[in-house]
């Protein structure tokens, strides 16, 4: 149950190359500094005994925690999701370890990995127990999480919160290069870049990819090997989209079979098809295609409600053949298209979307939404941002939303539909309109938005104090916008 760090015999590269010193942890310089500072002050009486390291997967949180421990000669006790972590269990293991150091002088660092993942039934009372322990502990505790919002405000208040970011592609490919040198494998520079890019800031998955490819390949690894690796599923779906929407006529059977051979559930597939459909149809065929997409969707709903997967076959064939027959109706054989749109609801994928400059902007918008609506960042990112793009088609709504969220021009421009030629202009106009609006008018019209000016100040002081008690009262919902 309590597992000491395993060393030496581990074969996975991510374990083998885990840094032993903090300065060897790549990226996140600021976070590392904060972590060091926290560790130095941890013995002081009034200091926070626990730190939360949060950030996306594979950006070095666990590595940093272990490197810190080995650098300071701290003993490590780790509890992760594979251990049962109910209230009693946590108290019985971590409790004594965290308060008693009478027997030995060595410091014990308690690492709680996946702390945002305490599970409902099995781990009943887990979060509360942790909060208790964090308050009483004399020993340092590090909580590791992807999403700090899942950990509750009380716990966050009692911890030093340190944020980790994705690691840059350049740094990822440097690490890969070093590893391949040590392992004595030859890898083309281009291949390293491709690996780094695919990993999208997740160093662990990049190293795993390199490892996997090096196992299956003899001789020098080139760019082509990367494509045959595991993350080529995107290209596959684009091929299928081409069959469904493209100019070359395909038999329904062939298009449908190629859809079946994808590693995508019909629920994912329909999002791709739907997103790519709407654009270039005339009215009649548009209606026709949409009708069958909706029928396909109905069958998907039936699968969900009845847990009867046989209806998937109707959903799949209706979504593919509906669109193909709409194409035929137009008397054209499809559309020559340079690129296909990605499904808007596809999890995590937007981060990989072509234009890399837009990523931080998108993240900033998501953050504002998360703060304003009191929803987790990931929720805002995945579900609200795509909707905002839609609402920004209506300029009046755009102005309202801009005012509420305090968006700036680049952020507005991002949300303004990307087909607009003059999006910069439009964004500026929205910006001016939003901030020229007299406060009282907004108040009269919307109620909530008028309070906006005060909200920031509140959010910092009062709300934090009283948040738990009257969360329901201050909570804003999406309804405020729409």
């Amino acid at each position: 149950m309590i597992l000491m760090t395993m060393q030496g015999n581990s074969k996975e590269w991510t374990e083998k190359y885990r840094p032993k010193r903090l300065r060897k942890v790549v990226g996140n310089e600021k976070a590392i500094e904060e972590l060091k500072e926290w560790a130095e002050n941890v013995y002081k009486t009034k200091s926070k005994k626990a730190a939360i390291l949060h950030g996306p997967p594979g950006c070095g949180k666990t590595s940093a925690a272990y490197a810190l421990a080995s650098e300071r000669g701290w003993e490590v006790i780790e509890l992760n999701a594979s251990d049962k972590r109910s209230a009693g269990m946590i108290k019985s293991i971590v409790g004594p370890a965290s308060t008693s150091n009478t027997f030995s002088k060595t410091t014990r660092l308690i690492i709680l990995d996946e702390a945002d993942n305490l599970h409902g039934n099995e781990d009943r009372g887990g979060t509360k127990a942790i909060t208790e322990i964090v308050k009483r502990s004399t020993q340092p505790i590090i909580l590791i999480a992807n999403d700090k919002h899942k950990m509750g405000p009380a716990l966050q208040r009692n911890c030093k919160v340190i944020k980790f970011d994705r690691i840059g592609d350049k740094m990822v490919s440097q690490v890969l290069k070093k590893i391949s040198r040590v392992e004595g494998i030859e890898v083309e520079d281009k291949a390293l870049h491709a690996l780094a890019e695919n990993a999208n800031g997740d160093l662990r998955s990049a190293i795993n990819d390199l490892h996997a490819i090096s196992i299956s390949k003899f001789g020098k690894i080139d760019e082509g090997d990367i494509a045959t690796g595991e993350r080529d599923r995107e290209t596959d779906i684009f091929e299928v989209m081409k069959k469904i929407f493209g100019v070359e006529g395909y038999e329904m059977q062939e298009a449908l079979s190629s859809l079946y051979s994808l590693d995508k559930t019909p629920e994912e597939s329909i999002q791709w098809i739907y997103r790519n459909f709407a654009y270039e149809n005339d009215e009649e065929s548009f209606l026709h295609g949409l009708h069958y997409l909706s029928r396909a969707d109905t069958f998907l709903g039936r699968v969900k409600r009845r847990e009867n997967y046989k209806f998937w076959r109707y959903a799949s064939s209706l979504m593919v053949c509906g669109v193909l027959s709409a194409k035929e109706m137009q008397g054209r054989y499809g559309w020559q298209r340079q690129r296909y749109f990605r499904s808007p609801w596809q999890r995590n994928r937007w981060q990989a979307v072509g234009d890399k400059k837009s990523i931080p902007i998108r993240e900033a918008i998501a953050k504002k939404i998360a703060e304003y609506c009191k929803v987790p960042l990931s929720y805002a990112r995945l579900f609200v941002v795509p909707f905002l793009e839609f609402f920004f088609l209506d300029e009046r709504k755009a102005v309202d939303i801009t005012a509420s969220l305090r968006l700036d021009v680049p952020q507005i421009a991002f949300l303004v539909s990307d087909t607009d030629e003059d999006r910069e202009e439009k964004a500026k106009r929205i910006y001016q309109d939003a901030y020229a609006m007299p406060k009282t008018v907004i108040k009269g019209k919307k109620g909530v938005t008028g309070k906006e000016g005060v909200i920031k100040a509140e959010a910092k002081e009062e709300i934090i104090k009283t948040r738990e008690e009257d969360e329901a009262k201050t909570q804003k919902t999406l309804v405020d916008f729409f």
């Binding site: 991510t14 374990e15 594979s82």
Partner: protein
């Protein structure tokens, strides 16, 4: 009397090269074996296309005699809670491999049936015991496996089996068992299997019980499947407006041949897509078939629904 073994077990591939129809994947798996090392793997794909077969064949090639000690197969759908991971999986993972094997393999069938919480528990177990253990997760779609596990695994998509793949294995088994197999019989087996090798082998074995000479009619009869031509005739009669003739055909299939309404609908749906009618009409027919299927599943009378479906086919020529 000699006890008859189930052929799907008896003819489970012992070597990777025997796993048919997944050439690109098998090529990669064989190079893992050559290097005597492998990453964690996800095998995604429909049923009966060789996911388990590939994993077991790989274990045979890696471990030889000691394969059974170093390879374990757990079915996640039996118990899908977090307890499985915390007890069974961890216990197997933490013990050392037997013989001179460098690691053990845990094959987790239907891993997508594990709850999210169980999967997050699994994630850390995978990392923790990667020194002594490799995981192979099998699932229908890899997106049902949580992202952090996906990022630790190489994903292989197994495709539905082609006619050639099914035919080659079926012929191989028939030869060893001393069966006579016509080309039409192979086609029939392929049709009833729907790309699923397990079904194909089962159909062959069931037919072999009846006679050493395998004929297509036997295959259809044993599997309670209508011959594709008959279903096509049923649809054509209806589309031509010959309602009562279509009803006769339906009665023949259901009452005389004992084929279920569910099966008839499934086969109609399979065939409509390849029929020589306008695309718009195909989609509409598929939609109606699906609707009838849904109503029957919800408890409606299958005979009434099928009759009504055929009637609506009769009238559809005016609509489109």
């Amino acid at each position: 009397m000699q006890r008859e073994e189930i052929w799907t077990e008896k003819y489970r591939p012992r070597k990777l090269e025997e796993v048919v129809g997944q050439d690109a994947i098998i090529k990669n798996l064989r190079s893992y074996v050559r290097r005597r090392n492998l990453p964690h793997l996800i095998f995604s794909g429909p049923a009966g296309v060789g996911k388990t077969a590939a994993a077991i064949a790989m274990a045979h090639e890696l471990y030889g005699e000691t394969w059974a000690e170093n390879f374990t197969e757990l079915n996640a759908s039996d118990e899908r809670g977090i307890e499985v991971v915390r007890n069974q999986i961890k216990n197997f993972a933490r013990t050392m491999p037997i013989g001179n094997a460098a690691f053990k393999i845990i094959f987790l069938d239907e891993a997508d049936a594990l709850t999210d919480a169980a999967q997050s528990a699994l994630r850390r177990t995978m990392e923790r015991y990667s020194g002594t253990c490799r995981f192979i997760l099998s699932c229908n779609y890899s997106s049902k496996i949580i992202e952090p596990i996906q990022s630790r695994c190489s994903v292989y998509r197994f495709k539905s089996l082609s006619y050639d793949a099914i035919a080659s294995r079926i012929k191989y088994i028939a030869e060893i068992e001393g069966l006579k197999l016509t080309k039409d019989a192979v086609r029939a087996i392929n049709y009833v299997s729907v790309g699923d090798m397990r079904r194909a082998v089962n159909a062959l074995q069931s037919a072999a019980v009846v006679s050493r000479e395998i004929k297509p009619e036997m295959i259809y009869e044993i599997t309670a499947t209508a011959r594709p031509e008959e279903i096509e005739e049923l649809i054509t009669r209806a589309l031509d407006g010959k309602f009562f003739e279509a009803l006769d055909k339906l009665a023949d299939l259901m009452d005389d041949k004992g084929i279920s309404g569910d099966e008839i609908l499934a086969q109609m749906h399979r065939l409509v897509i390849n029929m020589d009618i306008p695309a718009r009409k195909k989609v509409e027919l598929m939609d109606r078939i699906g609707e009838a299927d849904y109503r029957i599943t919800e408890g409606a009378n299958e005979r009434i629904q099928l009759d009504a479906l055929l009637a609506s086919f009769c009238l559809s020529s005016d609509l489109l």
